[in-house]
Amino acid sequence: MMKNMKREYVITAAILLAVLVGAFVLDAALPSYHIAIKVVKKACVYSLVAVSMNLLNGFTGLFSLGQAGFMLLGAYSYAILCIPVAKRAGVYQYFDGGIVQFSLPEVFSGFLGGTVGPVVGMLCALLFGGLLTALCAYLIGLPVLRLKSDYLAIATLGFAEILRAFFQWNAIGPLTNGSNLLKNYPDIGGAAAYIILVGVFIGVILLLVNSTYGRAFMAIRDDEVAAEAMGINLAHHKRLAFIISSFFAGVGGGMLAMYMGTVQALSFKSAMTYEILLVVVMGGIGSITGSVITSFLYIAGLEWLLRGLDSGTFLGITSPIFKNGFRMAIVSVIIMIVVLFFRKGIMGDRELPDLFRKKEKKGGGAK
């Protein structure tokens, strides 16, 4: 029994290690602008945000659609704190160089040296973005978390839209650069750096989900009335889940900013939330592994593998119907197939180790 349990975790660890090694190989073998590396980076960011959304929607049962708004906060925090001082005049050309006149990576390289300093500075900017988002989530949660199901979704969706409009307001331009781009800030590294960073954050969420608090969240999802009758304070735990989920959404937003190289409030539309919701649902509500795997499949498919459908040649076949937009039609068909044949998503509520456990049992039963 003990041995079996260990075996599953050894296989899981081996897979994760292989992925990490693969990322290092990619970084070493390909130039940083290669599509494979771009895909891995973006998929990492989507994984983190999808898992954070899953924590709220899948594990706690709160249907919230504010993810894009929270990502926006994280992305702006990261960008504003990391633009090098020398380049601020250029970026904030309509606002006299902006009011923030320091850059965390430069501040930290002042006393930590030129190699470690910038990385620490960038991490601090990411975490600051997360904390700011969490604070914002706390304030919004006070009124909004009294709502249930669809109403909560509408309220959070509305909040995200308000935030997007607010960040484009000229009056706060010296901070956010109005509706103009924020750019010229640094990126933390290649595919491997993203995988390590996201791995750590998702690892923390995984620990949380398997702790006594995670179990309490699932109890609220399964039966709120029973959870409350068993001494679980609903308001407190819902707020907690909302804040933690938002924290990671904020960090994810910061990483999205890093990946994209430019930030503009305009791009954080509700469509982004739906994209992530799609990943969560397709991966399996309540499965962290599902969210991660689906993020990679979705991003790889959309950004890379299915590109040929738009440009004329796919898998060596050239056809006149492979025109702009055909890719999205195929994606829709794939989504419908998944929804029809995997009702609970690709993974259901299983995690990576469960996969090997299941196989083990079946094999034993067949003998």
């Binding site: 949380l208 006594t212 109890a219 399964d222 029973a226 009758a229 068993m230 001494g231 679980i232």
Partner: protein, 282 residues
């Protein structure tokens, strides 16, 4: 001198114009099994829900171990609409209206008339989650596993509890895959996991056949002995009620119509009338 565990004073619950519980007063002493019975729609579950904080009573006070925990008096619109008695008795005192989790934390745990187990959780986890209330860790120490000792202790206690209630052999099964009788048992085990001083069972034998009811009767008696528990139960199965109750309260149309030992209740004319009906032209 026995200690009063739960005391209801003039508890009234009025929904709009309907008085579901009318001026109900009762007491439960330490170590007793007290049954609350009455015909369908008499207001038993409503009384239960006002005690456990699900509803805010319109008027009255509930005390637990000598301390008032729930208290209210008719306010606002209800001031005019109120049909119950003793409208001014608690008017001078502050309103107490805690949420159900706070009441459970004080030491009162309940089960539900229609079983409410956590469906996606195993038997073991269902009981373990109830232990969440007793944790001392915060979300950081729990996430980063600084609460290892506490977690191990809780798991041990849950395993022992499952052993006592006879569910250890199904501990890794999904709660909903259990047969009905065992689900009832699991719900009681879950309530016990919060280490209550008063256990409240809402129709524990609902939907059970006679054999299962007998088993449940023995089970409840055993729980009282093993855990030194005070129990309040709502029930329709008279066999069960008469077998194990020390005292019985009977309500009809929200009003208390009789109270006493099982023998007294069995021979009480008002109770018989309430259950069998009275001839209108008598």
């Amino acid at each position: 001198m026995s200690e009063i565990v739960l005391k209801l004073e003039n508890v009234t619950m009025q929904f709009g114009g309907v008085v579901a519980v009318d001026n109900l007063s009762m007491e439960i002493n330490r170590g007793e099994i007290v049954a609350l019975i009455g015909p369908n729609g008499a207001g038993k579950t409503t009384a239960f829900n006002t005690i456990t904080g699900v509803y805010e009573p319109t008027n009255g006070q509930v005390s637990f171990l000598g301390k008032p925990i729930v208290r209210n008096h008719p306010q606002g619109k209800m001031k005019k609409a109120y049909k119950g008695a003793e409208a001014d008795k608690f008017a001078a005192q502050s309103v107490l209206n805690p949420t159900p989790d706070k009441i459970t934390a004080l030491g009162m745990a309940r089960t539900f008339q229609n079983i409410r187990l956590w469906k996606t959780q195993t038997v073991f986890d269902n009981v373990l989650i109830a232990k969440h209330m007793l944790k001392t860790s915060n979300v950081f120490s729990a996430t980063f596993r600084f609460n290892r000792a506490e977690e191990a202790e809780q798991r041990k206690e849950v395993a022992e509890l499952l052993e006592i209630v006879g569910l250890s052999d199904v501990r890794s099964e999904l709660a909903t895959s259990l047969p009905y009788g065992k689900q009832r048992r699991l719900e009681i085990a879950r309530a016990l996991a919060t280490k209550p001083k008063l256990l409240m069972l809402d129709e524990p034998a609902a939907g059970m056949n006679p054999q299962e009811t007998d088993e449940l009767t023995a089970f409840i008696a055993r729980i009282r002995k093993d855990f030194d528990m005070t129990i309040l139960l709502i029930e329709h199965h008279m066999d069960l009620v008469m077998d194990i109750s020390d005292r019985i309260y009977v309500i009809d149309f929200g009003k208390l119509i009789a109270s006493g030992t099982p023998e007294e209740i069995q021979n009480d004319q008002r109770v018989i009338d309430a259950y069998l009906g009275v001839e209108e032209d008598a």
